[in-house]
Structure formats: C-alpha cells, structure tokens
C-alpha cells in the first residue's frame, strides 16, 4: 500500500517537474507548472467520474480498468460488495428455510402482536382455523376465532395449559390452542389437532363405564346366592369359612364397581359442578354420627365446626368426597388413635380437614395418592378393604368445585388431608339468615 502511495506521489512530483522544465525552457515558469497541475487534476477528476459512474450503474457495467491507487479502491469496493452479497444470500436462504420449515410444521403457528393482531401464520393454522391470506393479517385474532372460551382464555393471564375448542369451520375436530408469550409483548399461538386423543379419551371413559355396568349384573347374582348359602344351616360347616370369604370378596367387588361408576360419572360430566346451596355443617354432623355408629372405628372421632357457612356445589359429590377422605383417615388409624374432622375458613377460602394419628405416609408416595388403584403398602391396604379409588373420586369431585386436595404427613405420627375450596364457592351464613328472616 505504501508503495502505491509513494508511486502516486512520485507521479505528481514528476508531472510538476515536467512543467517546471518546460517552463524553464519556454516562457513563464509558474504558468507551465499551473498547466501541469491542472492537467493532473483533470485526469484525476476524469478517473473520479468513471469510478462514480461505475458505482452508480454497478449492476450494468463492468468495473473500469484503472491503474494505481484508483485501481486498488475499485478492487476493494468489488471485494466488499461480494462479501455483502454472500452474507445477504446466506441470510435470505436461512430465512427461506426457516419459513419453509414453519410452514411445513404439522402444528398451526400464528404470531400475534401485543394488541393480539395476527402478524403471520403458517399453512396448517390457516387450514385448521379457516384463516385467509393476506386479508387476515392485521385483524384481531378474537374477531375471527370468536368462541367465548377462547376470548376468555386470550384475555386472561393463565396460559400454562392449552385450551381445547371445537373449531367453527370443521365441527368434528378438536383443537388445542396454546398461547406462548415471548419478548416485546408478542406471542405465539400454537394450534394442534387433538381429535384423535379426545376420541381415545372418550373411548376409554365409555369403556370403563360400560364394563362396570356389564360386570354389575352377574355379580349381583353371585352375591345373592352367596348370601343365601351363608344363611343356609343345612350346608356342611366345613364350607362356612370359604363361603364367608367369597361373600366378603363379592361385597368388595361391588364396592369397587360402585366407585368406578361414580368416578366415570364425575369424569364424563363436563365443566363446573352446579351451584346448589349446600349446608356443609349439617352434612358433617350427619357423617360424624354415622362414623360413631360404625363398628370398626378409632376410639375418638371428633368434629370441629369453626364456621357455620356452607358451599355452593353439588351435594352428592361433596358428600362422597368428604366421606372418602374421612373413611380413608379412619382406615389407617389404629383403634386407640384419634381422627379429627375440621371445617374452617380464612380470607382465601373454605377448608375441610381430616387429621388422623395414624401410621402416616412416606413423602415419596404423597404425589401419587390420588391415582387410581395406587397402594402405599399393597399388603396392608388390601387387608383393610376399600376400592383404591376413594382419593381419585375426591380429587375429581374437588376439581369440579374449583378446589384441590392437599396432603401433609409425618411417618408414624399421622396425616392431614385438607380439601381446599375457593372463596367464590362459599355460601355465606349471613345470607342464609337474611333469607330465613
């Protein structure tokens, strides 16, 4: 580079020297030097013009052939341009690939602006939701997907779970929609076709319900005959033991089937529980009396009513949930232990707790307690009877009331099962008093 600049300077000096020489030979020196300088300047300007013309019409004409410093500048511009072109092409290619891959995704993808307007969507989203390109870009998504559940979901702030809706265009589909917020208030709406899963789930539920129904009839016949046989005095006494066992097992099977039917009914009824006014304290008092009357119970069964308020819900479901929690507590408490029922409220909601002084539950089992047929200790609990479905029923019944089950336990000391209910479900005593007055 230095060489090139030296050369350029030398050329300038040479031209000026030439002007000086000619000036010394013929006529005024300064005039000739000026003429030489002008000549040099003119030549430079001409070169500049050619460079400028090439830069402007780069795509149409070839780079000018220029020597020296100018040639070097041309070469540098060409190199810069090539590099830029290369990067641009790579970016364009990458962008195309990206767009092609999102377009080919089996799931629908919609990009939403902070105002919930559609920015972009792929082909699958258009197919599943009946969107049209390009008219729908810029429209608000809830103007096109108008299902009230979706509007509620969109304007809420809980996007942890997808929402399943039936699309307006194809009614036999089920779509799971999930909003994924990302930077700058934008969000991604994922649309997935879950028709198959929903159908399978429906088939499973139907199967359980039907199988339970079908098993019930033959079992009724069997236990009927066993009851008769047990009372029959003419039978060989050696058989009385086996018959008694068979009868007990038939009863247990009946209980399991009854629980399965309750569970499948809870599962198949959609949505929230009805909002009938339920007088929980009287219900608990009744349950308490029944518990005291039962033969196999711990020495102490206590009831603590700290509130006189009730709940809005389904009486049948609440009773079956509370009974199952209580029976569960009593079953795992030794005869000399204590079971305490407690009904109380605070600012957040209402609670029903069953506190027992039983054997307790190892912590690793607690999250799985509400699974169907889950046994902490297989040998022991089967000996205690029970269907293995009780806590699953509790979980589903509470879910339908917007509540949940909380389990605290210390091994060897006892457990506390608490049913939580939201504030919105509380039926105020003051209202009740006003009604009766």
């Amino acid at each position: 580079m230095v060489a090139m600049w030296t050369f350029a300077l030398a050329r300038l000096a040479g031209i000026l020297l030439l002007g000086l020489c000619v000036g010394l030979l013929v006529g005024p020196v300064w005039l000739w030097i000026l003429a030489a300088a002008c000549l040099y300047l003119g030549w430079q300007l001409l070169t500049l013009y050619r460079l400028d013309r090439w830069l402007r019409l780069r795509s149409q004409i070839d780079p000018p052939v220029l020597g020296g410093i100018w040639g070097d500048i041309v070469a540098q511009v060409v190199r810069l341009h090539r590099r830029k072109q290369f990067h641009k092409q790579r970016l364009v290619q990458l962008f195309r690939e990206l767009r092609r891959s999102t377009a080919a995704l089996p799931d629908g993808v919609i990009i939403l602006s902070p105002q919930r307007e559609i920015v972009w969507f792929n082909r699958q989203a258009a197919r599943l939701l009946g969107l049209k390109r390009p008219v729908d870009v810029g429209l608000r998504i809830d103007n096109l997907i108008r299902s009230p559940e979706f509007v509620l979901y969109l304007h809420g702030d809980d996007y942890a779970m997808p929402l399943v809706i039936r699309p307006p265009v194809q009614l036999d589909l089920y779509l799971a929609l999930q909003l994924v917020p990302y930077g700058g208030g934008q969000s991604l709406l994922l649309v997935r076709d879950v028709t198959r899963q929903m159908r399978l789930e429906a088939m499973r539920k139907d199967f359980v319900a039907n199988a339970s129904h079908e098993l019930r009839t033959p079992l009724t016949v069997i236990s009927g005959y066993l009851d008769t046989l047990a009372d029959d005095a003419t039978i060989d006494p050696a058989w009385s033991g086996p018959i008694k066992d068979m009868r007990a097992q038939a009863h247990r099977m009946n209980a399991i089937i009854a629980d399965l039917l309750v569970l499948s009914r809870l599962e198949s009824t959609d949505g929230e529980a009805p909002r009938d006014a339920i007088d929980v304290p009287s219900m608990l008092e009744r349950m308490h009396r029944d518990a005291l009357a039962s033969a196999e119970r711990p020495r102490q069964v206590l009831l603590e009513l700290e509130s006189e308020d009730g709940l809005f819900g389904s009486g049948h479901e609440l009773e079956s949930a509370f009974t199952n929690v209580l029976v569960n507590g009593m079953k795992y408490t030794p005869a000399e232990g204590t079971v305490r029922m407690r009904w109380w409220m605070d600012a957040e909601g209402a609670y029903f707790s069953v506190i027992d002084s039983g054997i307790g539950i190892p912590p690793e089992h607690i999250p799985r307690l509400t699974e169907r047929f889950y046994r902490v200790d297989a040998g022991r609990s089967r000996g205690q009877g029970g269907s293995g479905l009780g806590l699953a029923i509790v979980k589903h019944a509470l879910q339908r009331h917007g509540g949940w089950l909380d389990v605290q336990s210390t091994e060897g000391k006892g457990s506390t099962f608490t049913c939580h209910f939201p504030r919105a479900r509380i039926w105020q005593q003051t209202v009740r008093a006003a009604e009766s007055a």
Partner: protein
C-alpha cells in the same frame, strides 16, 4: 372504506371507541354462534340439560345487545361521526338487533330440543334438521367473518346461500307433512320439528341481513329489497373503479 381502515382519525380515542364496539359485536356474535351450536347438538343428541342451558343463557345475549346499543348512542352523541364511520355505527346497531333475534331463535330451538329429548327419537336421528342446522350455523359464521374482514364479496356469497336454506326448509316441511299423513302418532313430534326448522330458516334470513349491512358498511349502498344479481354487478363495478 375498502378495508378495515379505522386508523385515520386524529382523535385516537375515537379509533379506540370504534374498534372496541366492533370487537364487542364480534364477541356477541361468537356467543350467539355457540348458543346455536349447543341448541342443535341438544336436539341431535337428545340432551335436555344442554337445551335448557341454551334457553337460560339467552339473557346474556340480550345484555350484550343493550350494552353495545348504549355504547353506539354514546359514540353518536359525543363524536358525531360522518361518512364511513357513521355507516359503521349504523351497521353495528342493525347487526346487533339481528344477532339478538338469532339468539332468541336459538333459545326457542334449545327449549323445544329439551322437550323433544323426553320423547321417542326418530330412526334418522333428525339427520335433515342437523344438516340444515349446520348449513345455517355456517352462514352465521361466514356472515360474522365477512363483518370482521369487511369483505363485501364474501358477504354477497353468504347472502346467496340463503336461497339454499329456504329450499332445504321447504323440503323438510314437505317431509314432515308426509310423516304426519302416514302415521298420526308422529304429529306431535313433527309439529315441534316444524317449529325448529322454521326457527333455523329465520336465522338464515337474519344472517343474510347481516351480510347486507356489511355491504352497506363497505360500499355505502343499501341493498335491501334489491335482487342479488344487481348487487353483484354494483359491487363488481365498485371494485373495478377502485382498482382502476
């Protein structure tokens, strides 16, 4: 007003008001659509509880109509809109009346469906009624889509479908008469079905009305009581002039 261009106002508040009331209309439309779907499902699946829930939820539609109406009056009073904006407000006021009527017809269907659920169901499981119901629900859906997109072409296409709904209605009508003549025991059920298809046919008419308001809103032309062929010509001309 060729597109949903509601963003050219100096007053940002006015834009927001217009946009808000438009959203409310579409939300009301979404709820009405759901009511209609539920009512048809209640009939086809013989679900009396679903039918009752449709009938008891109709008050929500009425509530939405009242609140949108108030909002429109407020905008008219405060902003005194002109030209395209005035047309939007007028079209909205008319659209919600029709939506409310669709809600009422849906309520009627739900109520009758819950009554029919206790009766013996026909062998074809109301196949024709279900088909008509789907057709009508699709019409309502398309009309609301046209409203959301301000798409006069789609509105015109949907308005044309009303003729098919009318034909279907006629054919179910005749079928019911045949049933009644063949077996007098079906008269009770057939009469109830007639009420339902009548309601569906009316819903089709209301959907057609909404389409007409969309065309009015976009082109400023009142096309009620005009034949659809003339309307199509006018719209095409308007499109050609806006392009040329």
């Amino acid at each position: 007003m060729e597109t949903a261009d509601l963003t050219h106002h100096i007053s940002r508040r006015f834009n927001e008001d217009l946009e808000k009331v438009r959203n409310q209309v579409l939300q009301m439309g979404g709820f009405v659509e759901q009511q209609l779907h539920k009512a048809i499902t209640a009939l086809v699946e013989g679900d009396s509880r679903l039918g009752e829930s449709v009938a008891t939820d109709d008050y929500k539609v009425n509530g939405m109509e009242v609140s949108i109406d108030e909002e429109c009056s407020r905008i008219l009073a405060i902003r005194a809109p002109a030209a395209g904006d005035l047309r939007v407000i007028v079209a909205i006021i008319k659209t919600i009346t029709d939506l409310e009527r669709i809600g009422d017809e849906g309520e009627k269907i739900g109520y009758i469906a819950s009554r029919l659920a206790t009766m013996e169901r026909p062998a074809d499981k109301y196949r024709e009624v279900k088909h008509l119901g789907r057709q009508v629900a699709q019409m309502v859906h398309d009309a609301l889509d046209a409203f959301a997109r301000m798409d006069s072409q789609a509105a015109l296409k949907t308005a044309r479908e009303d003729k098919m709904v009318d034909e279907e209605y006629e054919s179910i009508h005749r079928q019911c008469i045949t049933f009644m003549m063949e077996d007098p025991r079906t008269i009770r059920r057939a009469l109830e079905i007639m009420w339902i298809v009548r309601a569906l046919e009316r819903i089709g008419d209301h959907a057609k009305n909404i389409c007409e308001y969309v065309i009015y809103m976009v082109h400023g032309k009142d096309i009620r009581h005009t034949s659809l062929e003339d309307v199509a010509k006018q719209i095409d001309a308007a499109h050609a002039s806006s392009r040329g």
